[in-house]
Symmetry: C2
Subunit: 79 residues, 2 copies
């Protein structure tokens, strides 16, 4: 069964680079990768924070949060 990987971002340049190079590099045979733009889908912020996401871009693989470089803190996405 495939594992779930969720890539959270906010459209920032750091996010775009991480999406293009890291999220897109995951093995599609083993991972279902979902890309979520938190600026456009604020309703997904709570779930991201629950998974431990503190900043974007971040990748949650199998429930574990991995922050990739630093684009913006989650607080900047709540307006």
């Amino acid at each position: 069964m495939k594992k779930t990987a969720t890539f959270y971002h906010a459209g920032c340049p750091v996010c775009v680079e991480a999406e293009r190079q890291v999220a897109d590099a995951l093995d599609p045979q083993r991972y279902d990768v979902e890309i979520v733009h938190l600026g456009e889908h604020a309703d997904r912020i709570a779930a991201a924070e629950e998974a431990g996401v503190k900043s974007v871009p971040a990748l949650v693989i199998d429930g574990a949060p991995f922050h990739i470089n630093f684009g913006a803190p989650m607080s900047a996405l709540k307006s």
Copy 2:
């Protein structure tokens, strides 16, 4: 042709988790993944820094550095 991905770490718990979940998740059809323990191979530190690595664990994909969470600064690996 496959791209090169180099995962730099120092054996720390944060590093091990990132290796198991992120480095191992890359698509082996498209990426040649090399795992480098900088604590054991100090001679690789210069090349990592040249690629922009500031802390471990980090993944350098196609020349671009991606810091994954935070385990230790590069300075801690030079003794």
